[in-house]
């Protein structure tokens, strides 16, 4: 297996730094709900770069990519269904603060 020149790593590194800078700058100004979207999209882009080039998924056997895809799918599942519960719960006022033994000793 012969490898690309070190130039490739430099390019990836520079793009990563660029993306990080972009993310930082974007966070200085506010875009409402898009704050989160921008931040996450950029984070995903960076992850893809790291995984493909630094971690060399692009050259490894496909099964390694498969591990990443399955994990990512499960992470999304766990995050989305848990958050969905909170978002769609009946909006009762939060209850009175209970007096658990723990709280009592504080």
């Amino acid at each position: 297996m012969r490898h690309a020149s070190s130039l490739r790593y430099v390019i990836v590194w520079l793009s990563l730094m660029g993306l990080a800078l972009l993310s930082f700058l974007l966070s200085g100004t506010h875009h409402g709900a898009f704050d989160i979207v921008f931040a996450l999209v950029i984070a995903l882009a960076k992850t893809t770069l790291v995984a493909l080039f630094f971690m060399e998924l692009i050259e490894h056997r496909f099964i390694n990519t498969m591990v990443v895809l399955v994990s990512a799918g499960l992470i999304t599942l766990l995050l989305s269904l848990t958050v969905a519960d909170i978002v769609t719960r009946h909006t009762f006022p939060r209850g009175p603060v209970p007096t658990t033994p723990q709280a009592a000793t504080r």
């Binding site: 730094m17 984070a43 960076k46 992850t47 499960l74």
Partner: protein
């Protein structure tokens, strides 16, 4: 140029290397799910206390967080280069690059510690000891408990990663690895990149999405 040991259960070196890589990837998947537990708590509580979380995130120093991001990205880069170098047969250079990565790891931890120290000085502690007057209520307290859990667990991984890199650095320096055999170095690098990737997500969650 040596090819590394072939363990008796394997038929050839290529399979042995594939096995090691896949094993590492599987382990990384497992690690990712470990962190996901905390990310789920973060996401859920952020949904419950959106404003408090945003306000609490502003208490983190965005500049320091960003510097740390640059540091980790760069250390990932040097680690990737070191794998590249060993493949070109320049093991000493590879070892030096690893040394650079480890040093960057120390810098990262140092920055993290100053941040912790600053927080403690202000009274921002995890759990019930939280007593920062500027921001009270449930939300900020949960935010910072999660902040310490997430960055703490991440720091543990940074330390573990540095240990691994140090191990392979010694190996590289002693020419234990060759272009044909450098699996341990590759695995150490993979682990370090995972540490980087996790930080890539911690950083926006804990620093950027602020009020």
């Amino acid at each position: 140029m040596h090819e590394g040991p072939l363990h008796p259960q394997f038929e050839d070196l290529e399979r042995q290397r594939d096995a090691a890589r896949l094993g590492m990837w599987a382990f990384l998947g497992s690690e990712a799910l470990l962190f996901t537990g905390l990310f789920v708590l973060y996401a859920a509580y952020r949904t419950l206390y959106p404003d408090a979380f945003a306000a609490a995130a502003s208490l983190n120093d965005r500049a320091l967080g960003t510097i740390n991001t640059f540091i980790l990205l760069t250390s990932s880069f040097t680690v990737a280069l070191s794998v590249h170098e060993v493949r070109l047969g320049r093991a000493r250079r590879s070892a030096l690059l690893l040394l650079a990565s480890i040093l960057l790891g120390f810098v990262f931890l140092g920055v993290k510690l100053t941040e912790y120290a600053e927080h403690f000085r202000e009274g921002i502690f995890p759990g019930p000891s939280y007593r920062y007057e500027g921001l009270r209520g449930f939300g900020p307290r949960i935010f910072f408990t999660l902040y310490f859990l997430m960055t703490g667990l991440h720091a543990l991984h940074v330390i573990a990663g540095m240990g691994m890199l140090a191990w392979v650095m010694v190996g590289a320096w002693q020419h234990r690895y060759s272009p044909l055999y450098h699996t341990p170095l590759e695995l150490g690098a993979l682990y370090w990149h995972l540490v980087d990737v996790i930080w890539i997500f911690l950083w926006p969650c804990l620093y950027l999405m602020h009020a």
